[in-house]
């Protein structure tokens, strides 16, 4: 078990950022080339050269290609029409058809975006090659200059790692102590301790302190791993990072005590933990931004301490915010700590 506690953050931080990335690669493409010209080959080459696609199927007709999708061999179909090269060079205009398998909606839409981007690039280079005067005279489509602030390359690891650190902290400082207190309840050692002069408050604090320390160590492991493995260094100050961590740890261990007060067996405790963990993670913005959730879900998320610390961690890591810029979050997290711990004390008294 002690090894587990340290292995857990390491594993999460080493594995999750790679697995839980939105960057979609290895999309399987089915190609229907009705033209078989130099230019159609160039287009297919341009698509494969992007690195996102691999051609898994070459069909003669749309129906054949559709079958390969049914067999799960390909995710997208690109159909290049007859006279593709001729129509481009004469300036008649061509329609290239792309169909995507939207069973996995994310994969379909991302693949579609990628392939459209490649085709429009291809289009532009052809346009300037064959119709230089048209290109010069402003017929060129609007060019979008993309620039991503704070995370230049839209690197998902940069985005995920600070959020994962929050998840680890929640488990280690909130849910592990809850399970451990309930375990003592179940074992009867809690009762044995209750007939000793040790006050209950001391007992609970003694149960929590090791987890607080482990939590701080886990965060430090997270900081080191994100530096060594992902080359991430917080843009903000360390004291801001640890300051927020400590405030959060107090709050979340309060929640842990609340759980341990209501659960009588490990089974109950795990059920409650699972329930909270699901809601906390789904509504935290770890995977999908909270702003794009329906309003009622945003309201629930507003009461999710995980969400607030994730925002804070990302801000510290990517934007370099200090306490001043995060004052609202600081107040919210302190409010959580006060609320959870008050509830913990009240519910503890009641169950006695």
């Amino acid at each position: 078990m002690p090894k587990m506690i340290f292995m857990f953050p390491i594993m999460v931080l080493l594995v999750f950022p790679w697995a839980a990335s939105y960057e979609i690669s290895n999309l399987n493409l089915s190609v229907i080339d009705n033209d078989h010209s130099r230019m159609s080959h160039q287009l297919v080459e341009a698509i494969t050269a992007s690195g996102y696609f691999r051609i898994t199927n070459v069909s003669n007709g749309y129906n054949d290609a559709l079958k390969s999708i049914e067999k799960n061999e390909s995710d997208l179909i690109i159909e290049i029409p007859q006279h593709f090269e001729k129509d481009i060079t004469t300036g008649t205009g061509v329609k290239v058809m792309i169909s995507a398998n939207a069973v996995n909606g994310m994969k379909g839409s991302v693949g579609m975006t990628y392939i459209s981007g490649i085709i429009s690039n291809f289009n532009q280079s052809n346009l300037s090659k064959h119709f230089p005067q048209a290109a010069k005279s402003g017929l060129m489509p609007i060019q979008i200059d993309e620039q991503y602030r704070f995370n230049k390359h839209l690197n998902y690891q940069v985005f995920m790692v600070p959020a994962l650190m929050v998840m680890i902290l929640t488990l280690v400082c909130g849910f592990f102590p809850a399970a451990s207190i309930v375990f003592e309840k179940e074992l009867g050692t809690m009762e044995q301790m209750n007939v000793t002069p040790v006050p209950k408050f001391t007992f609970i604090i003694a149960k929590l302190i090791p987890y607080w320390i482990v939590g701080i160590i886990a965060i430090s492991i997270g900081v080191i791993i994100s530096w060594l493995v992902y080359g991430l260094i917080p843009a903000g100050h360390f004291y801001v990072l640890y300051g927020f961590t400590i405030v959060y740890v107090f709050g979340i261990s309060g929640l842990g005590i609340i759980i341990s007060n209501y659960a009588h067996t490990m089974q109950q405790a795990f059920f409650i933990v699972f329930f909270f963990m699901m809601i906390f993670i789904m509504l935290s913005g770890l995977y999908t931004p909270v702003q794009s959730m329906p309003e009622w879900a945003q309201w629930i998320a507003a009461f999710n301490p995980l969400k607030h610390l994730m925002d804070v961690m990302r801000a510290i890591y990517l934007k370099g915010s200090g306490f001043g810029g995060l004052l609202k979050e600081l107040i919210v997290l302190i409010a959580f700590a006060v609320f959870f711990n008050t509830w913990a004390v009240i519910s503890y008294r009641k169950t006695q």
Partner: protein, 311 residues
């Protein structure tokens, strides 16, 4: 006997009641235990033994009534009580992942004392488990677990020791040994409250309380309780024991009949002779009949008392 200000009283209860949602666990229980006494609380499972112990060790609050332990009120002075009592729950509840020695040290520290300070008290018990002191408590055998639990309950030299069914699930040899240890502790002046479902352990206590359905049937010395049986008791045998029991129960002149091991213990109406009974049983087809008078035990008394309680 002066109830409240008697320095000789270790534990006293007055009108203690306790109920859980639907079950009335204790009904108006009152009793006293003198200092240095081994007091046995004897009754079947669910009689209220554990509830009573939990109230006296300040783990739960009674609905009604007052109780004192070592002169301290269980509600007002619960902190003082926790310092001067040792409690050994029925379920083994020490830290299983700590070794024997670590457990003992831990509980010594919790009580602000050290193993050395009270080693005399636990020496006799501890030497038996000392060869295994580096073994984890969870890996000990049942008898050794019990000895460790007792050592941990004694490490702070408590004035009153509460033992909740210490011999349940323990082999007969260890049980005998355990009672030997209690006798030694008594010599050191420790008051011991022990609960047990085994009637045969009653005679090892100084005084016993027979408890059933949350109230005491009687509280007295084992000898007095047996003397109070007040009737002749017979043990009946025959070849067909099952039929014997039903036949005895259907006989109006047999006042009570209970199966006890290999015999049926019966009491008879006063003018009913055993010869008559023997004859009637022979008529009903019994062979190998023997009816002899025996000395009643605590169990007989318990049965008799619980019967009169019911009807």
């Amino acid at each position: 006997m002066n109830i409240i200000h008697n320095n000789n009283i270790a534990v006293s209860c007055a009108g203690i009641s306790k109920h859980y949602k639907k079950v009335q666990a204790l009904k108006n229980v009152s009793f006293e235990v003198s200092k240095g006494e081994i007091f046995g609380i004897i009754g079947p499972d669910g009689a209220g033994k554990t509830s009573l112990f939990r109230i006296l060790t300040t783990l739960i609050l009674a609905d009604n009534g007052t109780a004192t332990v070592n002169g301290f009120d269980v509600v007002k002075n619960y902190k003082n009580i926790r310092e001067c009592v040792g409690y050994m729950p029925g379920k083994f509840s020490l830290y299983q992942d700590l070794t024997v020695e670590e457990n003992l040290e831990f509980f010594a520290t919790v009580f602000n004392t050290s193993i050395k300070e009270n080693y005399d008290l636990i020496k006799d018990i501890y030497v038996q488990i000392e060869p295994f002191k580096t073994r984890r408590a969870g890996k000990l055998s049942g008898g050794m677990k019990q000895k460790l639990a007792l050592s941990c309950a004694l490490i702070h030299k408590p004035a009153v020791l509460f033992l909740d069914e210490p011999t349940t699930g323990v082999d007969p040899v260890s049980r005998k040994e355990f009672w030997g240890m209690l006798k030694n502790l008594k010599k050191q002046g420790i008051t011991i409250l022990v609960s047990t479902p085994y009637m045969d352990e009653a005679s090892l206590c100084d005084r016993i309380g027979l408890i059933q359905n949350g109230s005491f049937l009687t509280i007295d010395t084992p000898e007095e309780i047996i003397a109070g049986f007040g009737q002749r008791l017979w043990a009946a045998h025959s070849k067909n024991m099952n039929k014997l029991l039903t036949d005895l129960r259907s006989n109006a002149d047999v006042k009570s009949s209970f199966a006890f091991g290999d015999a049926v213990h019966i009491t008879l109406n006063e003018d009913y002779k055993t010869e008559q009974l023997r004859h009637e049983l022979e008529v009903k087809g019994h062979t190998g009949i023997s009816i002899r008078t025996i000395k009643p035990g605590i169990e007989d008394c318990f049965m008799e008392l619980s019967k009169s309680e019911k009807y």
